[in-house]
Amino acid sequence: MLLTLALRNLWRNRRRSLLTLSAMVASSALLILALGVFSGMFADMLASGTEQYHGHMVISARGYQEDRDLFRTFAPSDINLQTLEARPEILAAAPRLRSFGLISHRTQSEPAELLGIDPGREARVTTLSQKLQKGEPLHAEDQTGALIGSGLARKLGIDIGGELVILTQAADGSIGNDLLTVRGIFASGDRHQDNALVLVQLGWLRQLLVLPNAQHEIALRLGEPLLAAPLADTLATSLPAGFEVLDWGDLLPQMRDAIAAYDVSRLIMVGVLYLATGLGILNTFFMSVLERIREFGLLMSLGVRPWQIRLLVLTEALLMGLFSLLIGVSSGLLLTWYMAQVGVDLSDYISPISYAGGTILPRLHAVFIFDNFFIPALLLLLISLLAAFLPANRAAKLHPATALREG
């Protein structure tokens, strides 16, 4: 009965109800879209920092990540990769060795980081060695192959099959000097990776650096990157002394802060938008209540109690909220889906942007995150009820006799 009354009342002044509804739908749908795209940007940023190069988590000798000391190595036997991968949260583990040197091709030279990898394992942890612009990934037998970034390739004027001269300082103090052939070129969008990184075979680098049986870190890929921090603590206790586990938040503290800041600003956005929407709902419901003073008086004289009148108005608000939520969220879903599948390519207008240690690519897209739908939906309902609270009160406080006289 209450429901029927509420529905009919909303329908009575269709135009007004529809206008208010449209505001509510617009605010929720567009908000959901915006949140989806922003989350997409942050996902890109996180991926660029972690999935391409760092991995979600890294195990190394204590202090190594701070200064990348060449001599802080450990042996493969110190930490068993199979045991790591046996854990359900860890999808894959890859060993690495790192050094810095001068890379030359013909008459061009550039400084670069040399990362020695196990191509098979690395491919399961990071994407850089697989997502190639040109050429092919490294095969296990190809000891003198190298993958370089597109920026570096351009600066050196080198292409697939070209020869690289490597110059670096070995562990015994001698100058390490060798030749590599470019097998593939990658383009990640990240400035450092594209302009100053060379991926080489782990075995080859060990030889060059005179560091037999050594590695600097084990990079890990996780199933739930956002839960990396607690996992790092757990993992640390199972490792031998002298080792530390760092999650991407430790490696990239800026990014962790940026993402936390985004979560806060997300709530602020929702708050501001819904404040404006709420004021509109307030107006509508005041009008609707004032128009019906006589009618409420009639209902009261028939025996309807004040709390029931209040409930009636609140039900109308709730119905509007539910309705707009349905339409708003589905529209938001559709828009997000479109942006996730198709997206918007702004490469002509902007270059990749570095933020908090990661890169935001100009190809904007959305990602589906439950909170981005749940929070706007929940708050929309809340604000509908809140906004109708005062008018509902007004209606409930009416004096039947006075009300009947009015209107």
Partner: protein, 410 residues
Amino acid sequence: MDDLRLAWKNLWRNRRRTLITLAAIAVSITLMQAAHNLSFGVYASMIDRGVRAGSGHLSIYRQGYLQDRDPKLGFNPQNLAAEISRLAGVESVLPRLYLPGLAQSSRDSRGILLTGTAPVEEYRINPFLRKLPATQMIREGNLRDALVGQRLFEELKLSFGGKFVVTLQGQEGELASELLRVRGIFTSGIKDIDRSLVLVDQHRAATMRGRPQQIHELAIILKPQADERWLLDQIGRLLKNHPQLILVGWQEAMANLADAIRLDYAAQKFIFLIIILIVTIGVINTLLMSVMERIPEFGVILALGAPSWRLQRMLLTEALLLGVIGMLLGSFGGSLATWYLRIEGLDLRYFVSSSLEFGGVVFDPIMRADWDLRWMLKMAFYVCGLALLAAWYPARKAGKISPAGAMRHY
């Protein structure tokens, strides 16, 4: 004038409704102004710091240098630096060389960017060197003094006054090594820079490169109120004698920063658009309600002989008045917020523990707003225009009223 008086009276017919609508308009404008002016201030300070450490507000390069920053594309600035410094609005002209190379200590080696500078001016201008004691700054002349980034210092296990070797490629393609001494260390807050930047005197760098007179970049730093357009023109004239040189703005030389700011503004604009949409729908609703309840009265006014457009003009005046009052209230609030945020600022250090980098420049942890008057005026304009637009549908409804039919409802 009469229309204005009538519109004012009609606006206050339903005080609560008008006040709520005004509140919606005003609060939205206050928030948008505060948010925008805050980012405006933050970006202005970021740009200033960025250009001082980087390419300058305006920069001069050899044609083609900006494509790949090929160290081979240098130029001899001759008197340009001195001539440009004399122009009004120019604070400083910094010569720079950028040479990628390898730094080696007894312990380790790292890829670095050897940057040749004019020590006195650089010390004065570059924000990276703000905390550096004067005694640690590199000295002028072709000396072995070098400033290294904090992280590089630690990673190479260097010491103050300690030696390290820098190897780089000369103009002819041969590799050259030089011994340098650590004179001081600096911290920029950006990991990549603190890991790879080494500052030396420009003459040392040029000699290492094999072209003693050449540099890569003239970074022109402007004073706050400088007339950029005039300067572009003047410097353009000076460059007529140097046909192989080009003048670019920081937006081109530091595209990372420029694009980062653009993206953020775009996101901001999108959110603002949604807010404005919501508020406009609210205004349409309010105006519509006020029209519908006055239909019999409109009938009377039409009966008395007012032409239909007169009635519509009345409504547009009401809408405009609503928009203007809301805009004024909102701007007042926004100005208060901006004023507060300019003096006190927003201290990010409560929320963010590390220094945050955006577009290649570090965020000042204390965010300060600044007055973007042009934007505020544009916003005011738009709001008033939108208020008028919002009246379109209600006015159309009013225009369709026939006096006889309307009065029958009385």
